[in-house]
Every structure is written in structure tokens, then in C-alpha cells.
Subunit: 220 residues, 2 copies
């Protein structure tokens, strides 16, 4: 089986991508802590997903620079995480060029272990408008890999990039994804806030898919 | 003055680029520790260069993942740093996709502080054949920035990419670069080994430029 890396945040999208990759690949799961508000919870979720999917190997990386750089509501507690769905433009939860940092580390690891594919759960259509979640960004990244690596043949794969969030839920149900283990909230680690952009998209997706979301939400 | 980031390893090339950038920009110096053999020495050199050039601000980032990933003679002590000039192909001192990781972090910082240029001392013609030191790699990286950032107008600048090493020495002398503070050796931190690819290129460059290199070399 081909070796593949799966970038796994612990959110519902990356869990579905982990299930897709696990079908036909020898998987290497990669989780990145970057000083985000829900870092601890996401690490725990990642380990639960490791336990569930049983990859060949997993790695947790800490990228300390996002915290020292700041500039995002996710990494700087002085910037509020807004409530409500983000409508247009790039919201304050955008972490500058985050996914380029994540993909670069993934490619470095892939080159060492001989993995040829890197799976990431980016979604373009039903997301907060982050520039580093769009198809064109990943296409250019694949060009960059050809130019800047020794092996040249590593590829970023984005299997759910054109799916709507409710379609991701439906696909996940088909693939037995343990959605109850995943976490999407930007803000809280004990119970999901239910009001940030990420919670609202998740709740809407489950509703539209006709599936109940069993993670705990706060009533506060 | 325009804000610019300078990626500074502490080697002779990046010191010359720091001098170039300092002429017309408000500079922000960035140094990255990545578990390389000479990490401690390079950090000290960086701080000496900060003291010399007096940037507006500086930042030292530690990227721990290169050490845990390994796969390079610079980050894995089980892989020998070869003596002699590297002739063809990619040498074992290649750190997989290292510069993509460095540039990604630089772009993240640039976006937060509003810098529009990132200077890097990559050299294509007179180097060890690293794929992430070639012009085409940086051109594609600039496309990636346009696609993957909110600001879109940050640019990687490679002012010495087509210079031969001896031309870099001559330019540095003209710009009063304190070459005595810089460090190029891949292997040692006390005295330069004088025999690794990086030392040999440095020594040859100074010789061809007719300038004496005053850093200490070992006789062992």
C-alpha cells in the first residue's frame, strides 16, 4: 500500500478525509499545535482519532511561531472570535498563511518517509473564505513541491474541497467516521459554543444531512 | 520606509542580503533554529548581526519538527556531513523542503506586521544544488503567496540568487558586511572545519575575491 500523510486537526472535515485515506493507504497522521485557543482539546481529539483509525505512525508538531506572531483571533486572545456565520471577506479567525506552514512541514516529513500523498480536509465552497483553503492554492502548492523537493513526486490531495458541509457529514456517516470524537468549536474546549462560525457551519451541516450531532454544546 | 523581513541564518550570503535590505528598508530580522548541528553558533552569530545592523525588530523561531523528522546530515547526527565539494545531485545536507517552511513562517509574520518584502540569501549558481534554492522555486512561491494570503502583495526577494560566491564577497566588502561575525561551517561551532561543502565554497570565494577570511579554521 502507498504511504500517505493525513493532516488531521480533529475537526469533522479532516476526520472524513482520514477515513477516505485509510481505505487504500498506509497512513501517517500529522497533527499541528499552533497555539490556537482549543489546542489542548484538539490534541486529545487527535489522539482519539489515532486510536480509532490506527495509522501506521503519527506525529504531533508544535509550531510556536503563530503564538508569537499573533494577528488572528485563534492565536491571540486579545482578538475576539466573532459569533455568527462569516459572510464575506476574510474573517479575523484567519491565521496568516497557516496552511502553507502546515503543508510545508507535511512535505518535509513525506520526503523523509517516502510518502507520495498528503491528504488535507480543506473545503472551498462551504467555509469561512480563507484564501489558503481554495483549490488554486493547492494546485500552486503542488507546483512548488515539484520545484522545491528532491523527490518532486509528492502531491497534496484535497478529496472534499468541492463538497458542501452536509455532503461531508453524509459521506462521513457512510464511512463510519466517529463524528462524536471530533471537535469544531473555535472558542471553547469543554462544550462547543454553538455560536462561532465553525460551530454554526457544523450544526447547519448536520441538520441539513438529517443526522444528530452528539457532541456537547453549551447553553450559556 | 517600507517594512521588510530579512531571513538571516548567520551565513555570509544572508549577511550580505541583510546589508542590501538595510539600505532602503525598515528591517525585521528573522532567524530560524531547526535542530541543525550548528544551531547554537548560528543563533549567537544572528544576535551579533542584529547588534551590527540594528533592525527595527527581530524574531527567533524554533522549528522542532526538522529534528524529529530527520533525514538530513544537518539535523540527524547519524548521517555524516561529507567532506569535499558536492559535485552533482542533491547532497545529504539537503534538509527536505526546508526553505518552504522558512518562507511560510516569514510570510505569516509579514502579513501580521504589514511587511511587503521578504529577503532571502539563496544562491542558485554557486551552491550545493538544493532544489529550494533555485529561482523557479521562489517564483512559484510568489504565486503561492498571491493565492494563499489575505494581503496578496507580499513578495520574496532574492537579490543575490545569480551571483557567484566571490561576487557576493566583493559586494559584501563594498557594503561593509562584517564577514568576521558570520559562520558557514555545517559541522563545527568552535572553529570552522574547512572541509565541508559550505566551508570549501566560502574559502574559495574569499580566495577568488582576493580577500582574507578572518574566522577561525581548525587544523585538525
Amino acid at each position: 500500500m502507498e504511504k500517505s500523510i493525513v493532516l488531521l486537526s480533529g475537526g469533522m472535515d479532516s476526520a472524513v478525509v482520514a477515513a477516505i485515506a485509510s481505505q487504500e493507504h498506509e497512513t501517517y497522521f500529522l497533527h499541528i499545535n499552533y497555539g490556537q485557543r482549543t489546542e489542548k482539546k484538539e490534541s486529545e481529539v487527535f489522539l482519539s482519532l489515532v486510536n480509532y483509525f490506527k495509522p501506521r505512525k503519527y506525529l504531533i508538531i508544535t509550531m510556536e511561531h503563530f503564538k508569537s506572531i499573533g494577528g488572528s483571533a485563534l492565536t491571540d486572545t486579545k482578538i475576539d472570535v466573532p459569533y455568527g456565520l462569516s459572510e464575506q471577506g476574510v474573517p479575523p479567525t484567519y491565521v496568516p498563511f497557516r496552511n502553507a506552514n502546515f503543508l510545508s512541514a507535511s512535505v518535509s516529513w513525506a520526503e523523509v518517509i517516502g510518502a507520495k500523498k498528503i491528504f488535507i480536509g480543506a473545503t472551498e465552497e462551504d467555509s469561512a473564505g480563507y484564501p489558503d483553503c481554495k483549490k488554486g492554492f493547492y494546485e500552486t502548492f503542488n507546483d512548488l513541491i515539484k520545484k522545491g523537493t528532491k523527490s518532486k513526486d509528492i502531491q497534496i490531495v484535497t478529496p472534499i474541497i468541492h463538497l458542501k458541509k452536509y455532503e461531508i457529514v453524509k459521506l462521513g456517516i457512510k464511512l463510519n467516521v466517529p463524528f462524536h470524537l471530533t471537535w469544531s468549536c473555535y472558542k471553547r474546549e469543554d462544550r462547543a459554543c454553538g455560536r462561532c462560525d465553525s460551530c454554526l457551519r457544523r450544526l447547519r451541516a448536520f441538520k441539513e444531512a438529517g443526522i444528530s450531532d452528539t457532541i456537547p454544546y453549551t447553553n450559556e
